[in-house]
Symmetry: C2
Subunit: 326 residues, 2 copies
């Protein structure tokens, strides 16, 4: 199957590196300022080298519109940066591709959080698939886990560590006695936190992931503004010590209670032997199901290769489904 | 879709109870001494009540052969007890169903451990699917996780707690200072261990599950006799205390190293904060993948409803695949 990659930062480039031996052919790549198209398949090492040298993946004269109008792809992979407010410009790109009868796979949280029900309906009408495993918890196969592995269950509750930056900061505060500003600076130095960490430490990133899980897998229809959000930026070492004296610690927990239509992100005291107490930048999600009981998934929540793992899972699922149908 | 249930013990009865509102129609049920068939769908509450009262699900005059020859089902669900040596009689039943072009879903470890490659080839030739999520780790969606959620990854290693009885015994020895015989007796009293616990405590049950994972998902072709097995029956409180003094404990760990073609089950010392240190009868599996990194799955390894959860996942996957293909 032929793939167009929209967005060529760390995730897009990581994906291009791992697609080499998979039988998928990349026919188009776009970054924010350029694009390249070859209906017979691009020379990916050459595209990666050009990006490395010039900052552009292709020619500045062409862009996403040219890739769409070429039609030279079966699956559009949208991996540009997230805009959580409007989902744009990714949302429009994804809409166009689905309307053309092309499958879409994305790691972009914006369009899925803002417009999943509309996009899913558009995909269904056009007989194509919409994969978004990479939007939540990186390599952790939570979307496939809930959709396939636990199909037939009713999820009573979901609790998760969905932001690796916050979990890293809280882990370091507990393990090394760093203050919040010290741990945040360390996370910045290691590249785990952005220069402006608001999005992570205020709990907004975790909340967007909860919106995606709630709307796409738990039968809900909520917006980011429906989530009750408290961040980690006022957690003190004293609060952590108090938790520790009770055999517990503090972590930023996302929670969905579908039956109460309740979704929130907040620092919570949890026992040290709880499966959600994971170290460093790991993510973890526990669901409580009517038949299966409690099921926990733990893994890397971010990074080019973990994200590529989730994208590849969606790509393989689309290929396998159509192989079976054909 | 129409379902025939072969085997009507705790798992078969649990499944019959949860299938009520799922859109699947049960047209046949067999236990070891009787069967019932209704091409328009059985009255499941009636069948369950008859089994409860008489020990038989149907008429003693008919059996599995009659169900097969009726052809009145789309999916055969084989949930009879495991025979690990030959896989029989389930293996023959599954072979017949696949050869008839019927899908098969099973919780029976025997046929999958003994003959997966043969059965998968037979399913492929006949254009049908073979689901076996329920054979390993109960409700934990490890088969779907490796096949779909982590598709495209190479698994470097797999480590797991795959026998809830052993994990319960070791948990109780650690937490309460019970000796091995005391903890085993408690597990028997609670129904977690059989009167003859050999199969569990000698590590054989865990080894069979490793054979299934190795052969069906990790590209290997091994037999039970290829697994290096040590059980938990000679673990002492002194050994546990020694581990504890190092911040660790002892658990029965199954291990697969695909690149070394190495599969073993043995008691291992692991740090108390390791994700595989789960309590009581829980199961846990960690895989180390080239792209995703380490991914851990934790959940209930046994019980009628956790097993029904895994069977339902396979049933839904078959239905969804054919809906997409149609």
């Amino acid at each position: 199957m032929r793939i167009a990659i929209i967005g060529f930062g760390a995730v897009g480039q990581g994906l291009a590196r791992v697609l080499a031996d998979t039988g998928f052919t990349v026919t188009a790549v776009a970054d924010s300022r350029s694009a390249c198209i070859n209906k017979d398949g691009l020379d990916l090492p050459e595209v990666l080298a050009r990006k490395e040298e010039s900052g552009l993946c292709g020619s500045a004269g062409i862009g996403i519109a040219d890739i769409l109008s070429s039609g030279a792809f079966d699956i559009l992979v949208e991996v540009s940066p997230t805009n959580a407010e409007t989902g744009e410009p990714a949302l429009s790109t994804i809409r166009s591709a689905l309307a053309m009868g092309k499958h879409v796979v994305t790691s972009n949280k914006g369009p899925i959080a803002c417009a999943y029900h509309e996009l899913k309906a558009l995909a269904d009408i056009n007989g194509v698939m919409l994969g978004y495993e990479a939007t939540v918890a990186g390599a952790v196969p939570i979307v496939s886990g809930l959709r396939h592995g636990l199909a037939g269950n009713t999820v009573r509750s979901l609790h998760g560590i969905l932001n690796g930056t916050c979990n890293y900061i809280l882990t370091r505060m507990r393990d090394e006695g760093l203050t919040y500003p010290q741990a945040l600076q360390e996370a910045r130095d290691l590249g785990y936190a952005e220069a402006d960490p608001t999005y992570d430490v205020k709990g907004i990133d975790a909340a967007i992931k909860l919106v995606i899980l709630a709307n796409t897998l738990l039968g809900m229809d909520i917006r980011l503004s429906d989530v009750d959000i408290t961040g980690i930026d006022s957690i003190t070492l004293e609060a952590l010590s108090l938790a520790e004296s009770e055999g517990a610690t503090i972590r930023l927990i996302g929670e969905i209670l579908p039956e109460r239509n309740q979704v929130r992100v907040s620092p919570r005291v949890i026992p040290l032997d709880h499966p959600l107490v994971v170290d460093g930048t790991l993510n973890a999600i526990s669901v409580c199901c009517d038949l299966a009981g409690p099921v926990t998934f733990i893994g890397k929540g971010a990074g080019p290769y973990p994200t590529a793992s989730a994208i590849l899972a969606d790509l393989n699922f689309i290929r396998d489904s159509y192989d079976r149908g054909a």
